[in-house]
């Protein structure tokens, strides 16, 4: 008799109706949005603040590089000793005092520039000042050596290597960013999904043992069916929650940004003035457009199909391992020793994906790990945007599915024996022994 649909239905309905599930599903996006809004709001507040920097230029050479912007005001002192200037700045609420001493040579000047302040200034402020002074003093020195600035400017050569595949497809750098972005996003999504919902599956497998209903169930259903039902049912719960989060969170985000006027794209990123000054609006539009083009030029069909397949299979493989853990123990506190070996390959996959695939998407390490079933879902998903032959994808997928089947069988085997052992914490050695029962 096939009870699979019945089991899936029960798993799904009891979980979805659970109060804590409902609360979590609704509350999580609200909390997230509130947090993001607060951060965005605060950083906007921070951006609005105007800071004043007092400049005492004894050399008289660099004064003209400091131009007031709407974030930073420069206040210039003349004919004053350093000590007087310090006292003065201390009394006003200036962010600090920049002191450029007077010397014969530009080298000496550049070696004795100092910045005095109450609190240590931000890194961006200092590097901003340094860049300005560097440019100015370099130019001055070049002039002193009798080198014409115009000549230098005119003889600057800008290199931008155009990339093209042998088939004649043009590849831009933006392309590579899009590919990386896709790979990393897919990898992390899978990672998160496995950790959150894998645990849920594990708990649901333990549930039958703690409530002692297992023997009643197992006398009418095969363990494989029960496990498969639990894995699929819980995954559907996860999917439901995820979709609700996406839709609900998206809606909330739109509403909040419309009502409060908070700009989410700014959140959390401390802006550098240099960036703001250099990238004008038109530039940004250009980047955006080429990013969009890059996305379109990716092997989209392949990506989507591969994403769905690898995501599902990878998730199922890991969740059946979580189920196996649940089958082996009879309370959640005993699970720790078994969870680490599951998380490890997953972490490994993400790091290989980020460090190796970026470096060399078709190198030995990337290729090998895109076949090993425990890392292949993440690594292969990261490789695919760079173009992976179909046979490789199929072989990798096949290995993954076979491993998943084996893992479910393995979990069911452990399950069958695990139910006989109440109140005993199993060791790895015992687990191997159980396989022979």
């Amino acid at each position: 008799m096939n009870h699979l649909p019945l089991i899936i239905k029960r798993e799904y309905l009891t979980k979805v109706r659970n109060k804590s599930f409902i609360v979590m599903t609704i509350l999580s996006p609200i909390i997230m949005i509130v947090l993001i809004s607060v951060v965005a709001y605060l950083s906007e507040l921070n951006n609005d603040k105007v800071r004043t920097i007092t400049v005492l230029d004894a050399s008289g050479l660099v004064k003209d590089v400091f131009e007031n912007t709407n974030k930073t005001k420069y206040n210039f002192l003349e004919n004053m000793s350093l000590n007087d200037a310090k006292k003065l700045v201390k009394e006003t609420n200036s962010a600090g005092l920049l002191y450029v001493d007077k010397f014969e040579t530009i080298e000496d000047i550049s070696n004795h520039i100092k910045f005095y302040s109450e609190d240590s200034p931000s890194l961006t402020l200092i590097s901003d000042l340094e860049t300005k002074l560097e440019n100015k003093l370099t130019n001055l020195k070049l002039q002193k050596e009798g080198i014409d600035l115009e000549t230098i400017r005119a003889s600057n050569v800008l290199i931008n290597i155009a990339q093209e595949s042998f088939e004649g497809e043009e590849i831009s750098k933006i392309d590579n960013f899009a590919k990386l972005g896709f790979g990393i996003a897919a990898g992390y999504l899978l990672f998160m999904f496995i950790i959150i919902y894998g645990n849920m599956i594990m708990r649901s497998v333990i549930e039958e043992k703690t409530s002692r209903i297992i023997e009643i169930i197992i006398s009418s259903v095969k363990p494989v069916q029960l496990l498969l039902g639990k894995i699929i049912g819980t995954s559907l719960v996860g999917l439901t929650q995820f979709i609700i989060w996406l839709v609900f969170g998206g809606l909330l985000m739109t509403v909040v940004s419309l009502v409060l006027g908070v700009n989410f794209s700014n959140s959390g990123i401390p802006q550098q003035e240099i960036m703001q000054m250099s990238s004008g609006g038109s530039d940004f539009n250009f980047y955006f457009e080429s990013f969009r083009l890059a996305l379109v030029s990716l092997p989209l069909m392949n990506l989507i199909v591969a994403f769905i397949l690898f995501f599902i299979c990878g998730y199922l493989l890991y969740s059946s391992l979580y189920a196996a853990i649940g089958a082996a123990v009879d309370s959640e506190t005993d699970t720790q020793q078994f969870i680490l070996p599951i998380i490890m390959p997953l972490m490994l996959a993400v790091y290989i994906g980020i460090f190796t695939v970026i470096e060399d998407p078709h190198g030995t390490i990337s290729t090998v790990f895109s076949f090993i079933p425990f890392t292949s879902p993440v690594v292969m998903l990261m490789r695919i945007p760079f173009g992976v032959p179909l046979w490789q994808q199929l072989v990798s997928l096949f290995i993954l599915i076979a491993t998943f089947m084996f893992a479910v069988w393995f979990a069911a085997k452990i399950y069958r024996v695990g139910i006989l052992m109440y109140g005993k914490k199993p060791t790895y050695k015992e687990l191997i022994k159980w396989m022979k029962y």
Binding site: T14, S211, I216, I217, S219
Partner: protein, 308 residues
Amino acid sequence: MNNLLEVNQVSKNFGNFKALNNASISVPKGSIFGLLGPNGAGKTTLIRIINQITMPDSGTVHLDGTLLNASHIKDIGYLPEERGLYKSMKVGEQALYLAQLKGLSKAEAKERLTYWFERLEIGDWWNKKIQELSKGMAQKIQFVVTVLHQPKLLIFDEPFSGFDPINANLIKDEILRLREDGATVIFSTHRMESVEELCDDIALIHKSNKILEGKLVDIKRQYKINTFEVGIHSNNKEALKADLSQKFDVSLAHFKTLENDLKLSIKLKEGDKPNDLLSYLTTKGEVTHFVELIPSVNDIFIQTIKNN
């Protein structure tokens, strides 16, 4: 075919541990079969093999003449000793789910559940969660779920634990009624008085081996010791006792009588008939008590285990 269940030479090992060693039992159709044995003897393993939860290493199990297979799941109702229900699920939903797992359709399951819930007067529990019920209440629901699909073979492992005397009686009556309706019952327990009361047949498992099996009356006959408890009204008890001792094995006995009689337990010698004893006694005084000592299941249990 008189036996519903035939277990033939079944062995099961867990690693180096022998849980069952060539055990065979035959459960007659329509009987209540007591499966007895000390803790850890292998009863639960045998029950799990019958339920196809564990597979035997060797040996066969036949149910109703066919080798045990997946289609038999719906023919067996099993109430395990370690039992529970989903804590956060509602009673009705849960019972429906478990019934459907046993192959009943939803409508059929609902109809039968309503019948049983009314019968056991638990109809108003339908929408309660298990965690709101007491242990005894939950046991009632487990009982209903076990018998709901009208299986040919019912297996109860300690069915009365957790019940108060009233509910235990109620369940006992239900078990007897189910037998009347044609079900065969395997009954595993350590409560010997309920074995005495309910079982027609018993099997005793000790250290993975079956050491005793048969009709309860036959076994008792086999274990009887030809001893009678006797009460005689007499004015000279000592003299009477001395007199009887010459003809029989006599010892003092303790039981309740209304008069202050001589109370003895008398073992017949080889070839003596009870009537010989009785007619001899009547010549000595007024016999107020004459009962054959039948070994209790408890005695048989302890004696057999000790002898092995």
